[in-house]
């Protein structure tokens, strides 16, 4: 069972399985969260499979482009999708040691998210309508506050686990040699805030809003239809899934299976499914209880996250005289 070829083969098969999980799980999880949200609001809500139907419908429909749309409008959605999908491939789901494991560096994943954000900003500015610009200007503000928090969380993780490789971090935290730490708790709180910002969920943004002036990410996509919109929506689903998977891999790496032992995969899949379901449910329940903040209040929230992430680093220094 230990020959390198076999391990590489298993890594590849696990990667294929990971892709399947992404393809099915990402839309389904969003559909589930929408359904649950509707139930909490006293509506029957769309069935969880509605998301798949929406995607196929968008795929079949014709694309309506503005007269002055350049090829940026057609290519940027693909870049948004490709960057989000690449990031999704780098974040382990049910197994560690996928073929993409050595590449799953946290800073690189953040870079890929930035790339996807940049492409969607370019797409939004292409036609020159004012909602696109509005969305982009808000993205700038949020990114300025979210990015440093994320980096400090990585700083903490690197101090704890000695690397920014996600596989390595998850493996160390899974085996539990590091124990429970206050710093990790603070980092978790900070990272959840960043995740909410990046996913555009409440209280920072409201993904189901229909009022354009309150939009964050959605304002950037108003000009798109048909296949371009399908790619953008698919990318948003992947990012939603990836952020939750990232939280699960770092802060709840229980039951995650080594890719080299296929017999543990079912358990890994099961526990991963449970974790994602739990996270999505928690997110929806949390959202049901909060109202959307004014955009200029968001920096305060992210400022708190920044303090938390700074504290996480400080506690590590103080607690063990890190050398």
């Amino acid at each position: 069972m230990n020959s390198p070829i076999l391990i590489a083969l298993f890594g590849l098969i696990a990667l294929a399985l990971h892709v399947t999980v992404l393809a099915i799980g990402a839309p389904w999880l969003l559909g589930y969260s929408r359904c649950l949200q509707a139930r909490l609001q006293g509506r029957r809500g769309p069935p969880t499979l509605q998301v798949f139907r929406d995607l196929t419908r968008l795929w079949r429909k014709e694309s309506m482009l503005a007269e002055n749309a350049s090829s940026v409008s057609q290519i940027a959605p693909l870049v948004v999708f490709a960057a989000s999908a690449t990031a999704a491939l780098l974040v382990p789901s049910f197994a560690l040691g996928l073929s993409t494991g050595p590449a799953s560096d946290l800073i690189l994943i953040a870079g890929l998210f930035s790339l996807s954000r940049a492409a969607s900003a370019l797409a939004a500015m292409d036609v020159g309508n004012w909602f696109g610009g509005l969305g982009v200007s808000r993205e700038f503000l949020l990114a300025f506050f979210a990015e440093p928090v994320l980096l400090l969380v990585f700083f903490t993780l690197n101090l704890v686990a000695g690397s920014t490789n996600l596989d390595h971090i998850a493996e160390l935290l899974r085996t539990g040699v590091l124990g429970l730490r206050l710093s990790l708790g603070l980092a978790l709180a900070a990272m959840i805030t960043v995740a909410l910002t990046e996913m555009g969920r409440l209280p920072i943004g409201n993904p189901s809003t229909h009022l354009e002036v309150t939009m964050l990410h959605e304002a950037e996509t108003l000009e798109f239809s048909g296949r371009e919109l399908a790619f953008i929506e698919a990318a948003a689903m992947l990012r939603f899934f990836t952020w939750l998977a990232l939280l699960a891999a770092i802060f709840a790496p229980f039951g995650i299976a080594p890719a080299a032992s296929p017999f543990d995969w079912p358990l890994g899949l099961l526990s991963f499914g449970a974790k994602m379901l739990l996270l999505a449910t928690a997110l929806v329940f949390f959202e049901a209880g909060v109202a959307r903040m004014r955009i200029f209040r968001v920096p305060e929230l992210l400022g708190i996250a920044l303090m938390l992430s700074m504290l996480a680093v400080l506690f590590l220094f103080v607690s063990e005289g890190y050398t």
Binding site: I107, S114, L122, F140, S163, T164
Partner: protein, 664 residues
Amino acid sequence: MIYPLLAIFAALLGVGVTESFIPSLASLLRTMTAALCAMGLAIAVIFLLFRLTAAGLHLPFGPPGLGINLALDGLSAFFLLPVFLSGAAGLWAARTEHLSGGPLIPVFIAGMVLSVLAADGFTLFVGFETMSTASWLLVLSYGEPTAAVKAGRLYMTMAVVGAMALLGAMAVGFGVGGDFTAWRAHPPHGAAAAGLLALLLIGAGSKAGLPPLHGWLPIAHPAAPAPVSAMMSGAMTKVALYVLIRFLFDLAGHNPPLWWGVPLLVLGAMGALLGAARANFETDIKSVLASSTIENIGIIAASLGLSLIARAAHLPSLAAMALGAALLHVLGHSIAKTLMFLVTGAVDHAAGTRRMDRLGGLVHMMPITTLCAFCGAASLAALPPMIGFASVWMVFQSLITAPRLGSFVLQMLMPVMALLLACGGALALSAMLRLVGATFLGRPRAVRTAGAHETDFATSLLFMGLAVLCLLLGLVPGVVLRLANPTLTQLVGADLTGQFGLLAITTTTSGASYTALPVAILLGAILLGAILILRRHPAVVRRGRAWDCGYAAPPMFMPFGDTSTQYGATSLTEPLGRSLGVPLFDWQMSTTIPEPGEIGPARFGVVWYDPVLRFLHAPVLRTRDWLADRAELIQRLTIRRTLGMMVLALVVLLMIVALLEQSQ
């Protein structure tokens, strides 16, 4: 290898002189200069690739007893890369342009080459000042006279302050006379070392754009013609960094105290934040780019400081990582910034303005230039897989492993510095997106802009070459690290061999790796797959009026709609201005909306200023004017008094010489 470089140096001066006498040959001579620079680039690459032995050269003229000393080692060869690359690209882009200061460009490059090759303080100073003066004259020679003179005066003042500080640094650190070999044998200690560091941070830092003397860059760099701006930002700032590295890493000895790198680290991180923040509020493309230069120089300086600290703490592998990151960023920034300034030149030429609030929609008229600008901007914004990301990745990796350094204060410093750099990174991304968005996307904001045209074929080839270089070196950053290896061995006693390859950069300090090529292939494969599927099953695409959430169609007399309803350069960063601009730049927005029925336009305006300019540069300028007034007294003296002054000056100088003789 130093002789061919000397020949290129002489040829550059010769070309400059020839052009000033026979201006009709300008076009031919510029092409020749570009070729000379390309040759220099090839020589530097060969020198680094085959790890040739360092060579020195003593020329028997120059100051008595000293002569002119030149030397070519790994460090100087590496810094010849940005100089020659930026020079070749700039001159190729300017080959047909009419520039009144044309003959000065080869002299400017020659000055940079001389500063990098110099092996004694006098030669270094001569090269540095040739570079300063030539670029100052180029700033003066271009554009609207009053603006040029204002920029030129600010630049000259900063250059003079820098020059005096540089002279002072050399005098304090190493005394008078002796070449670098002699200086290396007697590195300064204690107060002398601290003085050297402080004066050097002013002398070289002001030229590089290191805080607090960075405020002049976004005013002076844009005032020159685009190719010269490209060289000033892409190459001249790097020469200033070279001087910093040469003194701090090499000449000041290998055993400085632990805190030696801290000022550089702190100032660099502050520069990264302040430069990137300012880039979000400037409205002239070139000023945005010059502000982004401050940011990038800050990243490099922070990495250099970290490397110095790590070397002093006897962690050679961390020191090598940080220095390697700095050198990679030097080259990456130089390529991307040269590209972006040249693109700005093309935009200025085609659309008649560099103001973003008059541009827009150039993607339709200049598709190739736009694509290349996207690549350059992505590299400056540190997006994967461009070269900018590779170096920033390395900087962050070295920064987050740096708490192993020991001392608690230093440990505490690292997360704060990481925080500043991360803020700078996010701001750089928004600045670059704003730049390309307002310039190339959307609708033209002025009729003149709608009449823009694509740049000529040869120039677009150059743009494509530079853009591909940004991408290729980003995919395989190991190539540059390999060129940097001789320098790393020479300066920190360890190199990065084994830590980079075709597929990845790996840190031995933390075991993380950046797999640029595989991830880029993955990304490209997904992108290509999506495109192929779209090709196989083409969608029905219909064109119509922009949806714009149902707003009414523009009237007939507005062919591009009411372009003032579109988000512009100022409005794109309005939320950032409100939260970040207010504390940093005293950013203030004013809107005037007339009452219903009132006839009058609605107005929207933003004012801000850089406090550095007001509180630091302005007093320097006032001191300059005061001194100039006093100095004018000399011109009104009678002949008797003038002669008296000369005798007095001679006596004072002789006394200084006598004192120096005595002390030695």
